[in-house]
């Protein structure tokens, strides 16, 4: 049997394991429900205001898709990844799996790809739901050919916190602890990023600007919106403010360059930051698994 086949077997196992957990299913349902609620409220309370002009209505699918990504998908990423490796140790099933003809790298690859493909499925679901809801509430939508690209960008952007939680899952081998630490980093990172952006705005000190971009949440939050801004022309409305990195217009004014140039720069930086963090976290997890004993049942 080839290595690829062995990895595929573990991927399918990981799907079944994750979906058997009621908490994951509940979160998926909650994500869709909250997405529906937000768009419902938006359509009701912004009608006739500057936040919902006629020219922005055909682009509301962007809001529908992105708000799902920001709110729940990162949390689902943390929950899925946080238990992927650690639960096998906690339940004592790692012994059974790793005493089968599979290398540790294949095992970790299967677990990672299984969890991440499940997350991608959830993201596909929220993307489709976002587009459907936007069409339902705001009428026919424009530029829908970019939906798959947006979806891929969202998948890529969630790599950071998925890999972070996955790393803690393997390093700590305690699922609750792994999830809590990853969640704490998500929240702290979000707050620090905002703080650094504010410090840059008030002091014009570039150190804060670069630091704010080095924070994990910046890459994961803005990569999809930066990509969509680069690819599409969106009316300059409140919707743009929603998806925009707030530092871009400030920076454009300061440097006297167009926002398009800065969007391109920021997009490259976001792509690199996501990749660098994800690779570091995965390498730590691989090192831990390869170099240490398979721990016995802990729960």
């Amino acid at each position: 049997m080839s290595a690829l086949r062995r990895i595929t077997v573990i991927v399918s196992y990981e799907w079944r394991r994750a979906l058997a957990k009621k908490s994951v299913l509940a979160l998926i349902i909650l994500a869709v429900a909250v997405q529906t609620l937000i768009l419902t409220l938006y359509s009701q309370f912004t009608a006739g205001t500057m936040f919902l002009t006629e020219e922005v209505k055909p682009f509301m699918w962007i809001l529908g898709v992105l708000q799902g990504q920001g709110l729940f998908v990162q949390l689902i990423a943390i929950i899925i990844a946080g238990s992927t490796m650690s639960e096998e140790y906690e339940h004592g099933t790692a012994d059974i799996l790793l005493s089968k003809p599979v290398t540790r790298v294949e095992y970790l690859s299967g677990k990672f790809l299984g969890g991440f493909s499940l997350l991608a499925f959830v993201e596909a679901l929220t993307t489709v739901v976002g587009v459907i809801l936007a069409s339902w509430f705001f009428g026919p939508q424009n530029s829908l050919q970019y939906v798959p690209l947006m979806f891929l960008a969202i998948v890529y952007s969630t790599l950071i916190f998925f890999c972070l939680s996955f790393m803690f899952s393997e390093v700590l081998r305690r699922s609750t602890l792994a999830m809590l630490i990853a969640l704490a980093i998500l929240i702290a990172s979000s707050i620090i990023s905002q703080l650094l952006a504010w410090l840059y705005i008030t002091t014009s000190e570039y150190l804060y600007f670069y630091l704010s971009r080095g924070i994990p949440t910046w890459g994961s939050n803005y990569f999809p919106s930066l990509l969509i801004r680069k690819m599409m022309t969106i009316p300059n409305t409140a919707l743009l403010n929603f998806i925009n990195d707030p530092l871009i217009p400030i920076e454009a004014t300061k440097r006297g360059v167009s926002e398009a140039i800065l969007v391109r720069e920021a997009l490259q930086q976001a792509a690199i930051i996501v990749a660098v963090y994800a690779i570091i976290f995965i390498l730590v997890a691989v090192y831990r698994l390869l170099k240490s004993d398979v721990t016995k049942k802990t729960a």
């Binding site: 049997m1 079944r16 394991r17 059974i96 790793l98 005493s99 003809p101 290398t103």
Partner: protein, 314 residues
Amino acid sequence: MNALSQSVITVSKLTKFYGDFKALDSVSFAVEKGWVYGYLGPNGAGKTTTIRTMLGLLKPDQGEVQITGINPSKDPVQALQSLGYAPELPTLQTFFTGEQLLDFMGEMFGLAAQARREKIKQLLDLVGLKEWGDKKIGKYSKGMVQRLSVALALINDPVVLIMDEPTIGMDPEATAHFRNLFTNLSKQGKTVFISSHLLDEVQRICTHVGMINKGKMVFTGPIEQVLETFTQQWVIEAELEKVTETIVSNLKKLDYVEDVKVEGNKLRIELKEKKDLRGEISSEIFKRKGVLLSLNLHKITLEDAYLRALKGGK
């Protein structure tokens, strides 16, 4: 080809530390094809550590393990392909049914779908879980999980079967059934490695025994040899209506008698040879007008040998 290279399992100078604690201290033994090898030791002796190192789950600090000539730490795919393992008190994936878990494990070994279906049916029947195959494992009793664990270990038709306390939690009927199963598997040429603290079970089914204590191998060899090695003497216990000085002194004069101890109307006759000499002893007693009520030969059991081995005595 030397004896070592014919071995299906070879453990050489295996040393394993948990922090400062030396769990295994240069453990070596070899298990050949068709043996049923009983691995004995008290709690914390290092039995499970040895097994988990053999499977590549633990990384040895020194030494090496080979399963069918392949080191599982270096090439787990090849080494574990022909190995079946049933852990001690297994926790199985409760979200699967018994059939689903067997199917998944069959897939891990690369079995084709049709072969898996046939094997699953056969194994569930073999372990007495035919009626339970489509039920979630979460609903199984401990004994049923244990049975399923044995079935899982057999899914790939292994050459080597490693069982860590395989009959714990099973009822006596199932225990007897599995004893027969292991014996039959060895008759089919499979090598069975059983870690157990049930000495009676080991004595009944094992051809060879390894004993470990405080991380060190105390003995490894054929089961007859362990009994022989750790036997000081065989003893005949005789109960008489009345013990007389004549009987005792004449018994003591016999060439094959080491000593005779009197405890009320019972005689404890320690023999020089490891032979059943009850006939000779009873003749001597009758000759001296003794009335024999009972006469028992007390051979050394594996338990005696085991306890003696753990004390370091021979």
